[in-house]
Every structure is written in structure tokens, then in C-alpha cells.
Symmetry: C2
Subunit: 193 residues, 2 copies
């Protein structure tokens, strides 16, 4: 086992903690690495040794994310409500988590199909969550829907919400359209075909 020097661990922890606050208050794109280094009182070299890219740093900040995603799935599935309402609960929770830090939704969603991304582990969590949703609501779900599709649809809505200064409620109404699409049964709209 490789020993980790105490100063290294201390610096790493302080960087993550400080960076989390800065990202939350200013958004991903508006934060420079120099700014993080200064705030954490380390040199740029130190920052970059711990986190080779800005995305790696962001990935470390999202450490606890997986747990929250899984909790949201369980919460939605365990609701005593119709399938549509449970689906909406999940979609809304997930979109909210994606837009928690400005600029994050686009990066995470873009990484969905890229195993080499620093966010690959987060994406697996995300895809797994949607897999659970599809299983849990199987009887009501549109036939043939895949986790990747739901992930991308909600990701797309989240990206737009993130970059558009939308009034509250707008996101929800867009998600309702997506939800209805995801629940559409064959022949449900036969009259329109």
C-alpha cells in the first residue's frame, strides 16, 4: 500500500471543500482553477496534481451524488400513487439534482455515452437509476424504452433549464410532456395516426 502524506490529504480535502462552495455560488464555467487554488491557499501545481483537469475536480465534488440519486429513485418508487405521479417525482428530483450546479447538467449528460469521461461512474449511477425506474414502472412504461433514452431526455431538459433562466414550473411542465411520452402505450393516440 502506498502511504499518503498527511499534508497531501489535508490539501486535497480542503480543495474539495472550498471548491464545492465556489462552484455552488458561481457555477462551473464562471470558476477558474486559479481562483480555487487561491481560495484553498495552495499553488496551481498542487491543485493540478490532485485533480488533473477541472472535470476531475468537479467529479470529486459530486462524491455523495450517487447516494442521493439512489435515494430519489427509492423514494419515487415507494410512493403510494399512480405510475405517472411516481415517474414525475423521479424526473423532477433528477432534473433538480442535475441543475444544482450551473453548467454541470451539460457536462454530465454529454458524458453519458463516453466511458473515458471523468464522470463515467456518475453516469453509471444515473443509468442504473433509470433502469430501476423502468423496471419498477414496467407495466405502465412505453414498450422498449431504455435507460439511456430517459437519461438523455431528462438531461436535455436540465441543460435547457440550466442555460435559460426559466420561471419555476416551466421545467415541470416540460417534464410532464416527457413523462407522457414515456408512458404512451401503443395505440393510445390511435385517433391521431
Amino acid at each position: 500500500m502506498v502511504p499518503v502524506r498527511a499534508d497531501a490529504r489535508r490539501n486535497r480535502d480542503r480543495i474539495v471543500e472550498v471548491a464545492r462552495d465556489i462552484f455552488r455560488s458561481k457555477g462551473y464555467d464562471a470558476v477558474s482553477m486559479d481562483e480555487v487554488a487561491k481560495a484553498a491557499q495552495v499553488g496551481a501545481g498542487t491543485l493540478y496534481r490532485h485533480f488533473p483537469t477541472k472535470e476531475d475536480l468537479y467529479d470529486a465534488i459530486l462524491e455523495a451524488w450517487a447516494d442521493r440519486v439512489n435515494a430519489a429513485v427509492e423514494r419515487a418508487l415507494s410512493l403510494d400513487a399512480p405510475a405517472r405521479e411516481r415517474l414525475m417525482a423521479w424526473l423532477a428530483d433528477f432534473a433538480a439534482m442535475l441543475t444544482e450546479h450551473r453548467g454541470a447538467a451539460a457536462r454530465i449528460t454529454a458524458a453519458l455515452g463516453d466511458p473515458s469521461s471523468p464522470f463515467a461512474a456518475k453516469c453509471q449511477t444515473y443509468l442504473g437509476a433509470n433502469e430501476r425506474i423502468i423496471e419498477g414502472l414496467a407495466s405502465a412504461m412505453r414498450p422498449g424504452v431504455e435507460p439511456l433514452q430517459i437519461s438523455r431526455l431528462v438531461g436535455g431538459v436540465a441543460v435547457v433549464a440550466d442555460t435559460s433562466e426559466m420561471p419555476p414550473g416551466s421545467v415541470a411542465s416540460m417534464l410532464e410532456i416527457v413523462a407522457d411520452g414515456l408512458l404512451a402505450q401503443e395505440g393510445a393516440n390511435l385517433a391521431n395516426r
Copy 2:
């Protein structure tokens, strides 16, 4: 009326022409303004006098866009086919136009609610097109759908498609889900509620 010097007009036209090719081959983000200036054989100062920002330059490149958007609407509405098919024709055309230049979908979609954006005029075209679609397919359309909602949903799908290296067909299947959501009638999924 303010006279326009011949050299100025010549340069402006050449810049737009050259830039269109470069953006098409490399994508918005991968092109630097210096590169455009060099290719158009003008100095950086000249480029920036004609187009104060990179987005202004891009806006000029999209000059003929409005016509194509409107043509796509007319084409979709005039199809002799069920509403769902006509809606899909439009959504697919529009998503394709948005992803024509890599990086453009995100910028145009983000500008939808921002009247001060250089793309404001393009956004009006886009919103107007969706207004026509809603009117044209009114009887089949989900009650209460607004142009801004469709614009953002398709924009979201386009952004994801643009940043994700998706296999052909994936975009279409996501748009089908959106289309079904947009056509969902009250009570259509009653069994799930």
C-alpha cells in the same frame, strides 16, 4: 443614408463566406476568431469591427436559416399523413437544422428566452415555426402546449445529440417520445393514473 465603403463590404462578405465553411467543418467551439481572420485574409481588428463577438459572426452565417425553417414547417404541414407523422417530420427536420453546426444547438436554445442575444431574431423564427405547427395540428395537439415548450424540448434533444456522438436513429427515437408527449390527450393514459 450612411455610405458603405466598397472594401468594407467586400471584406464582410468574404469573412462570412469563409467562416461558414470553417464552422461547418470544425464546429463552433473548435474555431478561433484568429483562424477566421487569417483564412479571410484580414486582421483581427477588421474581423471584430464587422462582428463584435463570435456569436455575432455566427448569427450572420445563419442568415438564410429562417427561410429553411419556414420551408420545413410548410413541408411537414402539407404532408398527406396523420398528425403524428407530420409532427415527427417537423421535429426531425428541426433537430437536424439545429445540429448542423456543432455547438450551435446549445447557443440557440439558450437564447430562446433572451431578447438581447444576437440570436434573438433566429429564436423568433423558431418560435413562430412552432406556433404554426401547434395551429396546424391543433386538433391532435396536447391542450395548452406552447411554442416555447416545443422549442426547448427539441432544443434539449438537439443539444444532447450534438454533444454525445449518438448512433443514427437514436435522435429519432427520442423525438418520438417527445412527439407522443406532445400529442397526449387528457385521459389517454387514464389507466396509469
